[in-house]
């Protein structure tokens, strides 16, 4: 078994890494909102789901690809991928902002406590997934393949595939942009201020609603990008895709320390790799068990996750 594992080590690792980067981006959606509002935005999984559909609509309907089309190459390929990425991010980002305005804002103003927004979030999540289910006739939907999945090279025994490479590099760039935004910009500073002490931030003249909207927008943009990368890698989605990925990303966020951007990064990577290795060693049926055993063990020693809970202390 060990010998087999070593044979497959690099190909498992590459698969786990690109999955991990998708988790990171979704986990950022949870973590940004939690950092600012101390609230779990359960609708984030559906924001992701909508991002996958936005990607498919661009590739299938706007660029007219089918399952029998020729693959795109050169400039046209990058145009298609770029358009799909930006559209998925915008659609998810704006949807995320709308969800906040419709489902959470009034509750927050009325100081409703933690339970009402929780139920509101679950409600939004159900409305979104059931609406898409009805629109798609309960069927899974596939993205036609626009880009040939060729191997760029060989690393030991493992082939390095183009889609995994694109995901890892682009996700790293997006993560870098997010960290810079939170740490270096005026809005980032305001977000950190609200996260640290909302009342003091209000007294300092910070527009809380604006900051919260920006947080949801940024979280949604990241989650939408995850939707694009997911579709690029797996090419399939359904109205219920958010549940599985959402739980995984939420776990990653908790593992790293929810509310902490750095935590989402390492939590996502750890989870992607852990899931892949555990599935190989113990059988795929033990994947979830292994993940949660590890999660509980981590929380025993570090109850706030690997990197603690505070968005404010983040210096990634």
């Amino acid at each position: 078994m060990i010998g087999n594992f070593l044979d497959q080590f690099w190909s498992l690792t590459f698969g786990g890494l690109s999955l991990g980067f998708i988790y990171i981006l979704i986990a950022l959606g949870y973590t940004m909102v939690y950092g600012v509002l101390r609230m779990i935005n359960f609708a984030n999984s559906e924001i992701f789901m909508v991002g996958t559909f936005a990607t498919i609509i661009i590739i299938r309907d706007v660029f007219q690809f089918t399952q029998t089309s020729e693959y795109a190459t050169g400039f046209r390929l990058w145009l298609i991928l770029g358009t799909a990425l930006i559209s998925a991010m915008l659609v998810s980002g704006i949807l995320s902002m709308l969800v906040e305005m419709v489902a959470y804002r009034r509750l927050r103003r009325m100081n409703s406590g933690v339970l009402a927004p929780l139920i509101s979030a679950i409600g939004v999540s159900m409305v979104l997934s059931e609406s898409v289910r009805i629109l798609t006739d309960s069927r899974p939907v596939a993205s036609p393949r626009a880009m040939e999945k060729k191997f760029l090279g060989q690393f030991f025994d493992a082939g390095i595939r183009i889609d995994n490479t694109i995901i890892v590099i682009s996700a790293l760039i997006l993560f870098g942009i997010l960290v810079t935004f939170v740490n270096k910009t005026r809005m980032g500073k305001a977000i950190r201020a609200v996260s640290m002490n909302p009342n003091a931030a209000r007294l300092m003249g910070i527009n809380i609603d604006g900051v919260v909207s920006a947080t949801f927008l940024v979280g949604g943009l990241m989650t939408g990008a995850a939707g694009f990368f997911y579709t690029l890698k797996y090419e399939n989605t359904s109205a219920f895709i958010g549940f599985e990925l959402g739980i995984a990303a939420f776990t990653a966020a908790i593992l790293g320390g929810i509310g902490n951007i750095k935590g989402a990064f390492y939590g996502g990577l750890a989870l992607g790799l852990l899931e892949t290795y555990a599935s190989f060693f113990l059988g795929t049926q033990w994947k979830a068990v292994t993940v949660f055993v590890v999660l509980v063990l981590v929380l025993y020693t570090r109850p706030n996750g690997l990197f603690g809970e505070a968005l404010t202390q983040t210096r990634a």
Binding site: Y234, N236, F243, E275, S279, G283, T284, Q285
Partner: protein, 382 residues
């Protein structure tokens, strides 16, 4: 998981409302109104299976109502069990105690069927399932839990498991078969019935993968380590397509095969045609389009969507009841008797006649192959 509980409550409420609507008096003055029920997953993650079967049932009824205008008007009460036994046990009492319902097409899933059976047996409601293939429901060795109300128009997994293995390895000189199930009772059962028929040295390994899996890299690594040249997936099409796609993308060139859960018109839309080329499938049915292209066209026109898996069985199951309705039957005991004595032709032309346990005798497994993005019928598996 809280989320799921809430969905169930909402679904139960929705069902209550839809049932009430279902009992509204008929507008046709003379036509005799007959009420049948459908039970299967209509919302939730398995909804596509139930919605497809319901469409098959409604199609059969549409034809019947048009033919018997002014004489009979058949209505359908929809019972949504989400494919879940717990949900099934909640909706079944309501269906069982509604005396207007004289027959039930379903349940779609075996687990949900077993959970609902006590209620239907108590009230003598005849059932004809288009797709519950679990052997134990009609197996006398298992206490024959479905007797006397349960019937089905599909051959069981006992027939399908060995047939699937046979089809997958056909023409392969030294097969090394890797078998993956989806952890469902259906998938695991198929593998259990397949296992005793696997010749020594041909089994390369097994994996059991949740039907929510989206990343298959671990299973693919195992397939490669085992050096398999045949891979069989005993699950449903939404997972089969991504699995096969990821397997092919990783460089696997051997044979891919699956059971009736994979045989859906949607399956071929979920992956590039080049990836699915040559995928082998078994099923107790034939897709409507394969039976008659005109039939599929008419179905699509009347129902507003293409037919799904088990469409033919759903029509067959409904026709069992409709033939009894046409004989003037309007009460449960008479309906049960009529179903038990039924003998008629299925859409494919085989005879549907139930044995004492409710199984249809002499079920045949058919083989299919994907060619240029279309599922082609290749004849019975022998």
């Amino acid at each position: 998981m809280k989320k799921r509980g809430l969905i169930s409550v909402a679904a139960a409420a929705a069902l209550a409302v839809s049932s009430l609507v279902g009992f509204a008096p008929a507008s046709h003055a003379k036509a005799k109104t007959i009420t049948l029920a459908f039970q299967g997953p209509l919302t939730g993650e398995e909804a596509s299976v139930g919605q497809d079967e319901l469409a098959g049932m409604q199609y059969a009824i549409k034809l019947f109502n048009a033919k018997n205008k002014g004489k009979y008007k058949v209505k359908v009460v929809q019972a949504d069990d989400q494919g879940d036994p717990a949900q099934s046990a909640k909706v079944a009492p309501g269906i069982a105690s509604n005396k207007k319902i004289i027959g039930l097409v379903g349940a779609a899933y075996s687990g949900a069927t077993i959970a609902a059976l006590p209620y239907y047996k108590q009230r003598g409601l005849a059932m004809v399932s288009p797709s519950a293939t679990r052997v134990s429901i009609t197996d006398p060795a298992d206490g024959n839990i479905g007797f006397p109300v349960f019937h089905r128009v599909v051959p069981t997994d006992k027939v399908q498991g060995p047939a699937l293995f046979k089809l997958a390895t056909k023409g392969v000189s030294s097969p090394k078969v890797y078998i993956v199930d989806d952890q469902s009772a259906y998938g695991v059962g198929l593998v259990d019935y397949m296992k005793p028929t696997i010749p020594a040295g041909q089994g390369a390994g097994f994996d059991s993968v949740s039907d929510r899996t989206t990343d298959w890299s671990a299973t693919i690594a195992k397939v490669k380590t085992a050096g398999a040249n045949v891979v069989i997936y005993t699950g449903y099409f939404p997972q089969a397509a991504p699995f096969f796609k990821q397997l092919r993308d990783s460089g696997y060139t051997g044979i891919l095969a699956g059971g009736d859960g994979v045989l859906s018109p949607t399956f071929v839309t979920l992956a590039p045609a080049s990836v699915l080329e040559g995928v082998r499938l078994t099923a107790g049915t034939v897709p409507l389009a394969e039976i008659d292209a005109a039939l599929e066209a008419d179905f699509a026109k009347k129902m507003g969507k293409a037919s799904g898996v088990y469409a033919a069985e759903s029509i067959d199951a409904t026709n069992v009841f409709l033939s009894c309705v046409a004989k003037g039957i309007s009460k449960r005991p008479a309906m049960l008797k009529c179903v038990k004595a039924y003998s008629g032709k299925s859409l494919t032309g085989t005879t549907i006649k139930f044995n004492q346990y409710g199984d249809v005798a002499g079920g045949v497994m058919n083989g299919f192959e994907v060619k240029s993005g279309v599922i082609k019928f290749t004849g019975a598996v022998k």
